[in-house]
Symmetry: C2
Subunit: 473 residues, 2 copies
C-alpha cells in the first residue's frame, strides 16, 4: 500500500465543493458559521514555524447533533473537517492544508456528570483542563494531566498529550475511559462503557486517543479522575550535571518511590525561569519534584529521594512546604517555555519534543546540548525526565534565514538521535504536519501501511483532518 507524505506532493483543494459546503452549513447554522479572515487565521496554526493554513470557515456546534449535521454536510460535499479546541497544539494539527471547515468546540464546554464514587466524569470536548479542575475543586477529585497550555480536553485526547504528572498518573491514553465520536459517515460511535476495564473487542478508545481528528470528531469524553492527595510536598534539587539529574531520576523510579512529578531544567532554562519568575534558583541543572500521598508517605518519599540525590552529587533538596511557594514553583515550570523569551526578546519560540528510554536520556540530552552549541543556537531544555521525555524551546530569529535553517537542521537531528536510541519523534506534542516526515523511520513501512489502511477504512473520503499523521495518495 503506497503512502505519500504531504511533503512529497501537492495537496489539492476543491474550492467549488468547499463553497457548496459552506453554503449548506450557513443554511443550517446561520451566524454560527464564520468566514472572516481574522477568525479563519486564528483557527490555523499560530505557534512554531509551521505556516498558518487557515480553514475556509469556522463553525461553532452546540451539541453532538450539530456536529453530526456538520459532518454529514461536509461528507456530502467532500469538505475537510478540522476539530479545534483552543489552538495550543504545536505541530500544525489545526491547519487546513486542503482548506475546509474548522469545528470550534468553544460552546461545547460543559461538565455533564461527575461520578465521584467511580472516580470518573463525563464532559464535552471544549472544556479546558483548568476549568475542569476548577469545577471539580470541592469534590475531592481532580484530573491530573497537565500540558503546559490550558488546552481543551478534546484536544488533549486527540493529541494523546501528557505533562508533568504523567510519571505517576499516565498520559491521556491512560485517563480516557470512553469517547463519543462522530465518524466520517456521520454515525455517532461510543467507544466503550464506563467500566474501569474491559476485554470486549478492539480498543477503539485508544485508537481514537492520539488520532488527531483524522478518524473522527470527539464529542464527549469519559475521563478517569484521581483522588486529591491528602498531602503534597515538593521542592527543588540542584545537580552538578544533566547526567547526574538523569541518574538520580532512574534510581528514584527503580527504587519504587511513587514520585508524582520529576522535572529536569538545564542551566539555561533555570536562568530563563529566574529572569521571568524571579525565583533566585541556582543556575545549574535542577530537578523540580513533587510527592503525593499521606503526610507520612510524602515525608518518607522526600527523604529517600534526598538520599538518592546525594549519591549522585545532588543537593541540598530544598522543600517548598507552603502551598503558595509550591504553586509559584510549578507556575514557573509551566511558564518555562514562555519564560525563555526573556533570554532573547523578539525571538520566536519553537517548541519540540522527543522521548527515549530513560537509560538513554542523559546521553540524548547532553548530545543535544552539544549540537545546540555547535549550531550556534539558543535552546533551553526542560524535561519530564521520569518518562524519558524532554522539550527543546528553540529561540529563533525568523527573519534570519540561515538561523532558521540551522534550527530546522538541529530539530531534525534531535529526532534522528531519539530514533537511534529506540525513542520516538514525539513524546506528547503529536504528529500534526510537523512530524509526519519522521513516522516512516520511526515505525517502519508495515506500521505506516496499517495506519493508512485504518484511515482509509474509517474515512474513505479522507475528509477528517486530512494531511495529518498519514497522508493518503
Amino acid at each position: 500500500m503506497a503512502v505519500a507524505q504531504v511533503a512529497d506532493r501537492e495537496l489539492h483543494r476543491n474550492p467549488a465543493a468547499i463553497a457548496a459546503g459552506i453554503a449548506a452549513l450557513t443554511a443550517a447554522f446561520g451566524k454560527r458559521v464564520v468566514t472572516s479572515q481574522s477568525v479563519r487565521e486564528q483557527h490555523g496554526n499560530t505557534l512554531t514555524w509551521v505556516p498558518n493554513q487557515p480553514p475556509d470557515a469556522v463553525v461553532y456546534p452546540q451539541n453532538t447533533d450539530d456536529v453530526q449535521k456538520i459532518v454529514r454536510i461536509c461528507a456530502e460535499h467532500g469538505v475537510p473537517i478540522i476539530p479545534f479546541g483552543v489552538g495550543t497544539s504545536l505541530e500544525g494539527h489545526v491547519n487546513a492544508p486542503l482548506g475546509g471547515i474548522s469545528v470550534d468546540f468553544r460552546d461545547m464546554n460543559k461538565v455533564l456528570t461527575v461520578h465521584a464514587e467511580d472516580l470518573d466524569c463525563v464532559i464535552e470536548p471544549g472544556i479546558t483542563r483548568k476549568a475542569l479542575n476548577e469545577y471539580l475543586r470541592d469534590s475531592g477529585v481532580f484530573f491530573p494531566i497537565d500540558p503546559g497550555a490550558d488546552a481543551t480536553l478534546g484536544g488533549m485526547a486527540a493529541t494523546r498529550c501528557s505533562g508533568t504528572n504523567a510519571v505517576r498518573y499516565g498520559t491521556m491514553k491512560d485517563n480516557v475511559i470512553a469517547l463519543e465520536v462522530v465518524m466520517a459517515n456521520g454515525e455517532v460511535m461510543q467507544t466503550a462503557r464506563r467500566a474501569k476495564k474491559t476485554s470486549a473487542g478492539y480498543d477503539l478508545t485508544r485508537l481514537m486517543v492520539g488520532s488527531e481528528g483524522t478518524l473522527g470528531v470527539i464529542t464527549k469524553l469519559t475521563l478517569k479522575l484521581s483522588g486529591i492527595p491528602e498531602a503534597i510536598s515538593g521542592g527543588v534539587c540542584p545537580f552538578p550535571s544533566v547526567e547526574a539529574c538523569c541518574n538520580a531520576t532512574i534510581h528514584t523510579i527503580q527504587s519504587g518511590i511513587p514520585v508524582a512529578r520529576i522535572e529536569l531544567l538545564d542551566a539555561l532554562q533555570v536562568k530563563a525561569v529566574n529572569m521571568h519568575s524571579k525565583l533566585g534558583l541556582p543556575e545549574t541543572p535542577l530537578l523540580f519534584l513533587e510527592f503525593h500521598g499521606t503526610e507520612a508517605s510524602v515525608a518518607e518519599q522526600s527523604e529517600r529521594f534526598g538520599e538518592i540525590a546525594g549519591e549522585f552529587g545532588g543537593g541540598p533538596f530544598t522543600w517548598a512546604t507552603r502551598p503558595e511557594e509550591r504553586s509559584r514553583l510549578w507556575e514557573a515550570r509551566h511558564h518555562a517555555a514562555l519564560s525563555n523569551l526573556a533570554l532573547r526578546p523578539g525571538a520566536q519560540i519553537v517548541a519540540t519534543d522527543v522521548c527515549v528510554p530513560i537509560s538513554r536520556l542523559a546521553e540524548c540530552v547532553t548530545e543535544t546540548q552539544a549540537d545546540i552549541a555547535a549550531s550556534r543556537l539558543l535552546a533551553p531544555i526542560v524535561g519530564h525526565v521520569g518518562d524519558g521525555n524532554f522539550h527543546l524551546t528553540l529561540l529563533v530569529d525568523m527573519s534570519d534565514a540561515d538561523e532558521v535553517k540551522r534550527a530546522k537542521g538541529m530539530a531534525q537531528r534531535l529526532v534522528e538521535r531519539a530514533l537511534a536510541m529506540d525513542g520516538t519523534c514525539t513524546g506528547e506534542h503529536g504528529v500534526g504536519q510537523g512530524k509526519m516526515q519522521y513516522l516512516l523511520a520511526e515505525h517502519g513501512a508495515p506500521a505506516i501501511a496499517a495506519m493508512a489502511a485504518i484511515k482509509r477504512a474509517l474515512d474513505p473520503q479522507n475528509i477528517m483532518n486530512p494531511g495529518k499523521i498519514v497522508a493518503l495518495d
Copy 2:
C-alpha cells in the same frame, strides 16, 4: 456495513484449500506440523461449555521468520490461522470454527532482553507469566499481571487480560509497550518503540492488545516491568455482607490508599477455598488484600484500611505477616475457581466475568446471587473488586440439559445486568466465540461497524482467527 454474528449463520470451511495449505506447511516445516487427532483436540477449546472445534493441523514455529512463512502459506491458500499459547482462554478463542492451522508458540518462549534501568523487557510470546517472573527473580523487577492460569504472555496480550494486581498495576493494555506482529499480508510490523510514552501516530499497540489474533499474530512483546516492592503486607478481612465489602473497597480507593490487591470472595467461595486449601477462614464475605511499598507505607496502608473496614462493620483485619502465609493465601485465591469442584465433585466448571462501575458493584453482585439461587444453581463469586470486575464459577452437571439451560440463561442475564449498569460483558476474559453475541448491545452498531471495517482493512481475506470478536459476512 453489515456485520453477522457467528451464531446467525453457517460457517463454511474449505477442505481443499486447507489440505493444500497443510501440504505446503509440511513441505516447509516437516515434523513441526502435527495433524493427530489428540493434538488437534488439545488445541481447540477445552474449558467451559464452548464446544471443542479442533484445528486441522498444529504447527510449531521457532522464530518470527517461521511465523511469517506460515502466514504467507496460509494467506496463499486462504487458510485460517489461530495463534495458541497454552490454551487457558475461556471463551473459545483457540477454536477453529472454519478449520485451519493452530500456531503453537511452545518453542518461542525466550526472554530476549531485560532492560532493568528502563523497567522493560523484550520476550517471545510463548513464555508464561510464572516462567517470566522466575527468570526475573534476581533482577529486582517483576511483571505484575496475573490471571488465574499460568497463561503465556502472548495470549495474555491477545486477550487484554488482567488479574488480582490490576487495581494497582493496570491490565495488559497498560503493561505492553510495543509488539512485533506478523500481519495478514505477511509483513512484520513493529507497533512502537521502547520509549515509555509517545504521541507518534495511531496506537497500534493498544489496537493489537485484546484483538485475540484477529488482526495479526504477535511474535514479540516489549513489556513494562515494575520494581519489586521493598515491603509487602496482606491479609484477610471478613464483612457482614457483600455490600459492605464493596463499600469498604470504594472508600479505600477513593481515599487514595494505593492498594495492590483487593479481592472479594462471597461466603460460598470462602467455603470452597476452605475445603480445597484448608485455610479455616470465616465463611462470610471476605476481602483478601495486599499492600506494596516501604515498611512504613504498607503499615500505614494496612492501618488505614482497617479503619475503613471498621466503618462498614468489617474486621478484624488479620495480617498474614510471614511470606509463606501470604503465599498460601494467594495460592488459594488463584485456585479459587478450581477449588469450587470440592463443592460439587464431578460438575464442570464454567467461568464467566463481567465488569461494572464500582458504584454499581454491590448491587450487581447481590442481584446475581439472588438470580443464582432462583435458578437453582451453584456458582461462587470472586471478584477483582477494586476494578468493579467479578467472576462467577458455575458448577454445572453437563449431562442435565435443564440445568445447562438454566445456567446459560443465568449467564446471559448476568451480562444484561452488567450492561444495564453501564458495564461490560467481559472485564478480562475476552470475547472469543462465547461473548460475540453481546458486543452489539454493549457497543452499539457504529462501534461494531468500525471494528468490522478495521478487521476488513487489516485482514481482507479473513484468515486471522476468523469467527471471533466480529464475524464478517
